[in-house]
């Protein structure tokens, strides 16, 4: 489904290479986790996959269901089913959360040649999904993420994901800033979306998220490369021993 091949990325403004040959394939129906030390390039990978400006792809390719997506705009990638839950969700004063969600959903539907969702269907859907994530109607009415607590912002990301029903979901440290109960809500939200047609790329520092969202494959990223891949036990190893052994092994 998502196929990343020898991806090299440097910054547009500085002569600095951040991703140094990433190879990674996420098949439909699977959950892949990425762990790795701070600054290893995990968020950069998620941004480049979603089409953020400011990076130069110097080598390699990324395919989503067979289409090369690297020349597409962020909105085109979204319409193809790519979704990023941000490590730091952006506050947008003046844009209502509901308006934002409805505009996004309808834009994607339109791009795929589908009909727009009716106002009543939309309301019903958003209320239902928000309830399972314990997002109250007051939060829905507020401007996007404005005045939300750290954990509320993360839950709002999952709400967007649940509404947009993407094919490949990238979650960048969605667990950070969540209390124990919120973590369960978020994990339940993610698990509810797990199915044969959908792939997940879950970036995290902690095993505890992976207790709730069981990964099929765990990758370790360091200095812009995947240095090791394995089963869920790899995450436990990191939890217990940190990265030093793995880093030594790789070098």
């Amino acid at each position: 489904m998502l196929k990343i091949n020898n991806l090299h990325v440097s910054l547009e403004d500085e002569d600095k290479e951040i991703l140094k040959g990433v190879d990674l394939t996420v098949d439909a129906g699977t959950v892949h986790a990425i762990m790795g030390p701070n600054g290893s390039g995990k968020s950069t990978l998620s941004y480049v996959l979603s089409g953020k400006e400011g990076y130069n792809v110097t080598d390699g390719s990324v395919e989503l269901n067979g289409d090369n997506i690297m020349d597409l705009e962020p909105e085109e990638r979204a319409a193809l089913g790519l979704f990023l839950a941000f490590q730091y969700p952006i506050e947008i004063p003046g844009v209502g959360n509901m308006t934002f969600l409805r505009t996004a959903l309808n834009a994607q539907r339109k791009a795929r040649g589908e009909d727009e969702i009716s106002a009543t269907d939309f309301l019903r859907l958003v209320r239902e999904k928000a309830a399972t994530l314990k997002i109250d109607s007051d939060m829905l009415k507020r401007p996007v993420n404005v005045g939300f607590s750290g954990g509320e912002k993360k839950r709002n990301e999952i709400l967007q994901m649940a509404m947009l029903e993407p094919k490949i979901c990238i979650l960048d440290e969605t667990d950070s800033g969540l209390d124990v109960d919120a973590m369960k809500l978020v994990a339940n939200g993610v698990n509810a979306l797990r199915n044969e047609g959908r792939g997940f790329l879950v970036i995290t520092h902690y095993q505890r998220l992976l207790d709730h969202i069981k990964p099929d494959v765990v990758h370790i990223m360091a200095d812009g490369k995947i240095i090791k891949s394995g089963g869920p036990e790899l995450a436990l190893e990191v939890e217990n021993n940190g990265y030093s052994d793995l880093l030594d092994e790789a070098s």
Partner: protein
């Protein structure tokens, strides 16, 4: 218009004689004429006109202003106002409703100006004159001296139905002077809506006296005809406990100078003045605002937002003056521009002048571009870039539009704004 600081006496006498035969308003007109003769017409060399060249406003020759293919006469129809229509400054009885509305009287300057006596004698030119004490405003003095048309409105009660003055523009070279006077009695209330391009060149003055506990709501939409030029002035006097709220929307316009001079003369009065404008290319829009607090416990807000693209220019000159006895004044002023490209410019001169010690005043002025992170966030959810930019633009304008209390009127304004943005996608 043709008048310089070096007018000779003979010319002055001739000009004077033209205003003499004007019944009850003659004295005010002669006064205004003398103010004008003293100051002369403005030029770019005047400090107050540093950012806006008044040449095409004062030239004898009127520049051509092409017409929009269709009129936008009925933009306020959702609130069913009483309509009064002027076509290039001439009153149109066919297009207007009858001036019948309980709680107020409406007369036209043109029909009453020959009378010897009229209540408006006390008001006509009075607040315009007061507004000249701080800075000279020659175009307003010119207006008082020469205006032949306008509405004289006396509001005696709370009037629910808004009045909509519609200014149609049909003549590509029309040069129009309008002078309105509004007196709102104690506890009375009026909503005035103004809309339309009015003329190739418009010089308009609105004097409004808001008496104790009275309310004046004012929403205006300057017409979309791009080549029009306008210099407008609002002069307002607020008594104890009164409220004045004025919002102006400007979409397009090669030259607009909107001056507003408000004197808060009564305790606990409130003045909110705001504006949103969006302009493209050779658009030039100037908001020049002067609010004087001369009473205790009064509040004023100035909220101005400008969206500028393709080299458009926005100007804001705003001042809050707090007199020595105006304790407990709450004054707020914000002027911001969103520059959609590097060619556009925003020139701002925010000022506070405070002589009382127990006051809370703040002002801020910023100019910035679209927030790239917010744009990426929206597009990453599937919203196309042009739509996302429009959403962020509307969000930027929201603080100004939110100054409008009435939901229906707010919707009218939001729709006009999004229409403008859509046409430029």
């Amino acid at each position: 218009m043709e008048l310089s600081k070096h007018n000779n006496d003979a010319e002055l006498e001739i000009k004077k004689s033209t205003v003499l035969n004007s019944g009850w308003s003659a004295k005010a007109r002669i006064d205004a004429f003398e103010r004008l003769a003293k100051s002369g017409l403005p030029t770019v060399r005047d400090e107050y006109w540093k950012y806006t060249n008044p040449k095409t406003l004062t030239n004898k020759i009127v520049e051509k202003a092409s017409l929009l293919p269709e009129h936008e006469s009925d933009i306020f129809k959702s609130v069913s106002p009483l309509k009064i229509v002027f076509v290039d400054g001439k009153f149109s009885p066919e297009k207007s409703d009858e001036f019948i509305l309980s709680g107020l009287s409406i007369e036209r300057l043109d029909t009453i100006k020959k009378l010897d006596l009229h209540w408006a004698k006390e008001l006509y030119g009075r607040y315009e004159k007061l507004g000249q004490l701080s800075v000279s405003r020659p175009l307003a003095a010119y207006n008082t001296a020469y205006a032949n048309e306008g509405l004289i409105i006396h509001v005696t009660d709370r009037v629910e139905c808004p009045i909509n003055i519609i200014y149609e523009h049909e003549d590509e070279y029309s040069d129009v002077i309008l002078h309105h006077v509004i007196k709102i009695d104690s506890n009375a209330e009026l909503t005035l809506l103004e809309s339309g391009a009015a003329a190739a060149r418009l010089n308009q003055v609105l004097e409004v006296e808001v008496n104790e506990d009275a309310k004046f709501n004012h929403i205006r939409v300057l017409g979309r005809d791009h080549e029009r030029r306008a210099a407008t002035h609002i002069f307002g006097e607020l008594s104890r406990g009164s409220t004045l709220k004025s919002f102006t929307l400007t979409v397009n316009g090669i030259l607009t100078r909107n001056e507003c001079f408000l004197n808060i003369a009564g305790d606990d009065a409130m003045a909110h003045i705001s504006g949103a404008c969006v302009g493209d290319g050779d658009f030039h829009h100037d908001d020049t605002v002067f609010v004087t607090h001369d009473a205790v416990g009064s509040e004023s807000r100035q909220v101005f937002k400008k969206v500028l693209r393709n080299g458009a220019t926005g100007v804001f000159q705003g001042k809050i003056l707090v007199k020595p006895d105006a304790q407990k004044t709450d004054g707020y002023q914000i002027s911001q521009s969103l520059l959609l490209d590097e060619d556009s410019q925003f020139l701002a001169k925010p000022e506070l002048e405070i002589y009382a010690d127990d006051v809370a005043c703040s002002h801020g002025s910023t100019s910035g571009a679209i927030d790239e992170d917010a744009l990426f966030y929206l597009t990453s959810r599937g919203i196309s870039k042009p739509v996302a930019i429009d959403m962020l633009t509307m969000a930027f304008l929201a603080e100004a539009v939110d100054e409008i209390d009435n939901y229906n009127l707010k919707d009218v304004i939001l729709e006009l704004l999004s229409g403008w943005l859509e046409r430029r996608r």
